[in-house]
């Protein structure tokens, strides 16, 4: 019973809070240049959509493919930038660059090779989306549902 109580308490205390500031993490982009989540990507009122993905995660690729198809449309409707954060480790991270280019994705790519960013946001599994405006996490989405990119756009437009 006590164990159950413990679990419940932990769970409730977890739900009772909500993170708002994006943690400060330093990581590399696809060109190997060091960037920071709190020093880059800080244009005022611009909406940054951080999509956590991996080369081995089929729903992630499905999501990013789907957004890529409508990305031009998104940009015409809102000041938005999609940042695809690859959590591939040394096993698969060399496949990121050719995959991104092969798929013709237009996103900014960040390499979270030892998963510091993923850990800081408490993400267990990709796909995971965090929408950030003025350094604040406005909302998050755990997992991907085919077609959910349309709802995402609606939510982004509502932020304007």
């Amino acid at each position: 019973m006590k164990k159950l109580a413990l679990t419940l308490m932990l769970f409730i205390s977890a739900l009772g809070l909500s993170q708002n500031k994006l943690p400060s993490i330093t990581l590399k982009n696809l060109e190997g240049t060091t960037v920071s989540t709190t020093q880059n990507f800080i244009e005022k009122d611009k909406i940054y959509v951080y999509c956590f993905w991996a080369t081995w995660c089929a729903p992630c690729i499905q999501e990013l493919d789907a957004i890529n198809d409508v990305y031009e449309d998104w940009k015409s409707q809102a000041n938005v930038e999609v940042i695809a954060v690859s959590i591939d480790d040394a096993r698969t991270n060399k496949r990121v660059k050719p995959l991104v280019n092969g798929k013709g994705w237009e996103y900014t790519i960040l390499m979270d090779t030892n998963q510091d960013f993923k850990r800081a946001l408490g993400i267990s599994n990709p796909p995971f989306t965090a929408v950030v405006k003025n350094g604040e996490i406005v909302f998050t989405q755990n997992g991907h549902t085919p077609g959910s990119e349309n709802q995402l756009l609606e939510q982004i437009k509502a932020l304007k």
Binding site: K3, L10, F11, W56, T145
Partner: protein, 580 residues
């Protein structure tokens, strides 16, 4: 238990304080996550499985961090109740503080006391990380300083002992790393050149009688990255100083050798096309945070079987497939030395490569159709190193030795040739087709004597049909022909997404067509049976709750280059993840 309850209250109080603080604009940020993976192991008459003596098990992780300006403190509490899930490290027991740290971070300086995660280069010399599904957490406990005087240069110095269960391993770990963006430093724009160097040292006291290698084991990594227009070359060379090798789970202080790893990666990529090659030679690169293994005779396993006390990362460079059947014969990088006269398995490392080709047939082209077609060709092949070796020395003592050749391959361990074609057929219909051919050398990889090598063919198709804006249905169909092993496998998956919150899935894997007379199927690994699994998931914001019921395959599970039999199980699973 009281300790934990008071701990929880403390957390709640802190959280409440922090929230309050936040509203009064003192900018204390609180963030963290909670994850629970629970399992209720049940009886399964058809498989002859009796409920485990501890049927209710769950791994719980509660992580919380407090940030005030440049300071952050945090901890992770882990609770394995009533015990850790089956096949997890037996050292994960009870409830306790698993990791804790205090961090001070500015633009130039980043100092951590307590537990930290770190990776030098590609991790061949040092990597500490957490992978909850594999039960890996080898965070170093000590101190780490990262100093970046200018954007182009960074230095890291660290000391620590690696986490093992709720304790730490014996070895003292020292590390130094530097990364320099040379072209940016010299304002060269024609090309991109970066250089990196790391030194890692593990100190563990040796008995006085041991004289043939040092108490310090040192690793040095040199690496560079060069990019010119759409071409790139990256390489890393790691040298490991002479250290004793583990022979049949026991450290053999008479058998000490040096180790090395050479990784070369190059490619070409521009919009719509990508080519990448990964070549690697690894010899004797096992590195543990403590020389001796923990032995668990009752479980017939050692700490190595649970990825416990590992200090570096030598991944298998093969494609990680998401087809269920392609994950039955999974390759593990062969970086360790094994010389076993009784089963005639002698391996010293591995050599081989992985090649990738991505191409996007544009929308409107003949092969692209209205919505475009994407293909990926992936090929990987890995071999044992060719070497001269002997089991006894000139004096006839049982002291082994070997000398591996530089670029000569011996017997093949594994190969994987596959092609994946993804096509959006219409606005509402997407489909992907994959063909995979795998070769798996049972005797060399698993070290278990079997006459045959496996040569399997897999076809896999997955289609998603969008019923409405939020409703969709996904079908997966797979078949595998594995003639030398368990013959045929068929698998099917169906997933229905009702809206952005709810989804359900059902799947089945069925093995058929093998001959009982010629093949002995292990008692723990029955195969004339359906491996079904079904469940539902609810997600909202950063929270996800999933429930499933089904059968887990037993059999050989290989991790970190070693394999062991795991019991089959059937049961009800509950996963909860959330972050805040």
């Amino acid at each position: 238990m009281k300790k934990i309850i008071s701990l929880t209250f403390l957390f709640s109080a802190l959280c409440a304080f922090a929230q309050k603080a936040d509203t009064t604009k003192t900018k204390v940020k609180v963030y963290g996550s909670f994850e629970r993976n629970g399992q209720w192991y049940t009886n399964d008459k058809n498989r002859g499985i009796h409920q485990d003596t501890v049927p209710l098990r769950a791994n719980n992780y509660f992580n919380v961090n407090f940030n005030y300006k440049k300071f952050t403190i945090g901890t992770q509490v882990e609770s394995y109740m009533n015990e850790a899930l089956l096949n997890f490290n037996p050292k994960y027991k009870g409830t306790n503080f698993a990791t804790y740290y205090a961090n001070y971070k500015t633009k130039k300086l980043d100092i951590t006391l307590g537990h930290y995660y770190v990776q030098f280069g590609s991790g061949l010399a040092l990597r500490t990380w957490e992978d909850r599904s594999l039960g890996i957490n080898n965070a170093l406990r000590g101190a780490k300083v990262v100093y970046s005087p200018i954007d182009e240069i960074s230095f890291t110095a660290l000391y620590g002992k690696a986490r093992s269960g709720f304790d730490v391993a014996n070895g003292d770990i020292f590390g130094f790393n530097t990364d320099v963006n040379v072209s940016q430093l010299l304002n060269v724009e024609a090309f991109d050149f970066k250089y990196g160097f790391s030194g890692v040292s593990r100190y563990e006291k040796l008995p006085v009688a041991v004289q043939n290698f040092s108490a310090f084991t040192n690793l040095f990594s040199n690496r560079f990255e060069l990019a010119y227009k759409n071409y790139y070359v990256n390489t890393e060379y790691v040298f490991k100083s002479r250290d004793a090798i583990i022979k049949q789970n026991v450290l053999d202080t008479n058998f000490a050798k040096e180790g090395s790893a050479l990784l070369v990666n190059f490619g070409y990529s521009k919009k719509g096309i990508g080519f990448d090659a990964n070549l690697r030679r690894v010899e004797n690169m096992q590195l543990l945070a403590q020389r001796n293994l923990d032995n668990y005779p009752t479980l017939s396993s050692t700490s190595l079987n649970y990825n416990d006390k590992i200090l570096n990362f030598v991944p298998s460079l093969t494609k990680q497939h998401h087809s269920n059947l392609a994950n039955i014969y999974v390759y593990q990088a062969q970086f360790q030395v094994v010389m076993d006269e009784s089963i005639q398995v002698n391996k010293f490392g591995e050599i081989g490569g992985e090649f990738d080709f991505f191409y996007d047939f544009k929308k409107g082209s003949a092969l692209g159709g209205k919505y475009g077609t994407k293909i990926n060709l992936n090929v990987s092949s890995w071999y044992n190193l060719k070497a001269k070796f002997r089991y006894t020395n000139n004096a006839g003592e049982n002291i082994q030795n070997y000398q591996a050749e530089l670029f000569n391959a011996n017997e093949k361990y594994f190969s994987d040739y596959n092609i994946e074609i993804t096509k959006k057929v219409s606005k509402n219909f997407k489909t992907a087709f994959t063909y995979i051919n795998q070769y798996y050398n049972n005797k060399q990889i698993q070290g278990i004597f079997k006459e045959f090598d496996i040569n399997s063919h897999i076809v896999f198709s997955e289609s998603t049909y969008q019923l409405s804006d939020s409703k969709s249905i996904t079908f997966g169909l797979e078949h595998m022909w594995a003639d030398n092993d368990r013959k045929n496998w068929a698998a099917a998956t169906v997933e229905y997404n009702h809206n952005e919150h709810w989804s359900i899935f059902a799947m089945d894997m069925y093995n058929y067509g093998f001959d009982h007379k010629t093949l002995t199927i292990s008692e723990t690994d029955l195969f004339d049976i359906h491996f079904y699994n079904f469940g539902t998931a609810y997600k909202n914001g950063s929270t996800r709750v999933a429930l499933n019921y089904g059968r887990q395959r037993g059999g050989l599970v290989c991790a970190g280059g070693v394999c062991r039999f795991v019991p089959p199980s059937t049961g009800l699973g509950l996963q909860i993840t959330t972050s805040f």
